[in-house]
Symmetry: C2
Subunit: 350 residues, 2 copies
């Protein structure tokens, strides 16, 4: 676990300035905006120092350049993660994570290549003791608020004991970061009955039963949106498909509204009059507004954002990372894992 | 394959009158309504004859009682399918399917226990030659129209060669029943790149490549709703979760609209004025309106409906079954499978 001591007393978040599609501009803007919102926050940028300074000048932005950690390389969205790790040790991603690992900052944030952020985080931060497979969560709007899904794509071949880990990690995350008391945990399956599910989900249910969580057993796809579960656990293949399907909902809604408006001039006017209401109603479905998802199970705080993150999204990611540090999320996750005995062999002899 | 000869020259659909949650009332109403829409259609009902007649009388409904095939038992929604097959050979489900199998009707429709309808259909109709695993499809609204997902829950442990079968069967279904010329087939995965996916999806992609379909390779969850694919193939665990998640979207939208309206009297009035438009815009998302999904790969036409099917949904199911018969869907599916060599051993020695 990283040291949290620093002389300024402020929470220090290291932001990968070269990560997102609009880097470093959105990153600089997000950093400035986060510091303006939270006076006890200090943002550090990792990236090409001369590039960052020139973008600052071009856009008339003011940021303390002594808090830019120079890095000569950039991991691109199309870089294969493991290869990038071998070849790009001076990337903003690697430099930034090591900066946190060495205790110079408290948390790490990137809107870069998700697979690479995950791989680099695991290799540099290492895993929390007792965790076999770190997990990326996603936040999902639902009736009554928001819920989470773990895993949303860190692994495509999760095993039952990984789902058990997701249940513990996700439960702590929901409690600490979403302020959900005693979060309800469910295993995503094809029916509520115990007999329903595939091999992994059925075995996971048996394992999670014993972990002392607020466990509902199986939940179905519809339970996620109906607000019937706070922490949905599933393999990362299924979770990623559900997440991306959900991202498509907003797109389809916009299309259906446009299709309706195009039917007649009268309908177009009606939609025009109701436009601001539609926007307000559906704003909750815009996944790009959420500003980052956690990578849990590594021994450091990593928040990962969408490549297309806006300055607002970047700001929210930075604030979330700071919140995670202040709430000692990492220590709580480690404690929750340490106090449980999740059998990595799933009952099979070693 | 069933004989399609009959003396009246009409297309004959056998409807399980005891299947749905509102059986037999909705079934009787749906049957009457289907016959009224299509004069070349003859609906037969399987079920408890005296019960059906008494419900007809109570509701002042007129249906030719010589077309009721008596069956003393009912398969309930909670009956385990295999056990029900052993113990309920005189159920409306078994009697109805045998009636079709014996050539007395051309297609079978039920809004009953989905698992039981599938199990009974496989055991009574048997499988199309060359098919290892029949599949239930689902229809999904998307930008530009509708698309399909196979499998939507017939199997929880689909293997790669099953997905290859789904691709062939689904492609024919989309072409014949949804009038999509040269339908685009995709394997549901976590990224477009060839390297993305789990073991089953990656192997399936390699197999489907060779089948001479209009094959896109991998598609992601968002591609379904964006209208980027006509036939999405995936294991039934994933497909069922996506289907049920999609069912939850409508529920969440209603909630978001209500939440907005409850914010102020002004907003409530606005929503009230726009109510009929909202209903029109989102009607496409109401999965209960679709009226049934196909079970493909069995040697007979089976259309399965939602337990809560309305008379309109029942009517649509019956009409869809008749359409499938008239379009010789079964012969086309069998031909498409026979003309391809899908390796049930997936390259492994037997």
């Amino acid at each position: 676990m990283q040291s949290s001591g620093n002389s300024s007393g402020k929470c220090r978040v290291l932001l990968d300035a070269m990560g997102g599609d609009f880097a470093p501009l959105n990153e600089i803007k997000g950093a400035i905006s986060a510091e303006s919102d939270d006076k006890n926050l200090e943002v550090w940028l990792a990236g090409d120092k001369s590039k960052i300074i020139s973008v600052m000048k071009e856009n008339n932005l003011s940021f303390d350049i002594s808090r830019i950690v120079d890095a000569s390389q950039v991991v691109t969205m199309s870089d294969p993660p493991v290869q990038a790790y071998k070849e790009k040790q001076d990337s903003s991603l690697a430099v930034g994570l090591r900066f946190v690992k060495n205790g110079n900052a408290d948390a790490f944030v990137s809107a870069g290549n998700t697979g690479a952020v995950m791989t680099f985080s695991v290799l540099i931060f290492r895993k929390i003791k007792g965790v076999d497979r770190p997990t990326i969560g996603t936040l999902m709007p639902c009736v009554g608020g928001y819920c989470t899904i773990f895993d949303a794509g860190a692994s495509v071949d999760s095993k039952a004991h990984h789902l058990a880990e997701y249940a513990v990690l996700g439960s702590i995350y929901a409690e600490e970061m979403l302020n959900i008391k005693n979060p309800r945990v469910g295993v995503l399956s094809v029916g509520e009955e115990e007999s329903k599910g595939n091999e992994v989900s059925k075995k996971a249910r048996e394992m999670i039963k014993t972990l002392g969580l607020n466990f509902l057993g199986n939940v179905e796809g519809k339970d996620i949106l109906k607000g019937n579960v706070d922490v949905t656990v599933c393999d990362g293949f299924t979770g990623n498909i559900v997440l991306k399907f959900a991202e498509g909902v907003n797109y389809l809604l916009k299309h259906l509204i446009k299709e309706y408006a195009d039917e007649s001039i009268f309908k177009k006017i009606k939609v025009g009059l109701f436009k601001s209401s539609l926007k307000a109603i559906f704003s909750k479905l815009n996944y790009e507004n959420y500003g980052g998802v956690p990578l849990l199970g590594v021994d450091g705080i990593t928040i990962i954002g969408h490549g297309s993150s806006s300055p607002l999204a970047i700001k929210n990611m930075v604030l979330k990372a700071a919140e995670a540090h202040r709430k000692e999320l990492l220590q709580k996750l480690a404690g929750a894992i340490a106090s449980r005995n999740i059998d990595h062999n799933e009952g099979n002899p070693e």
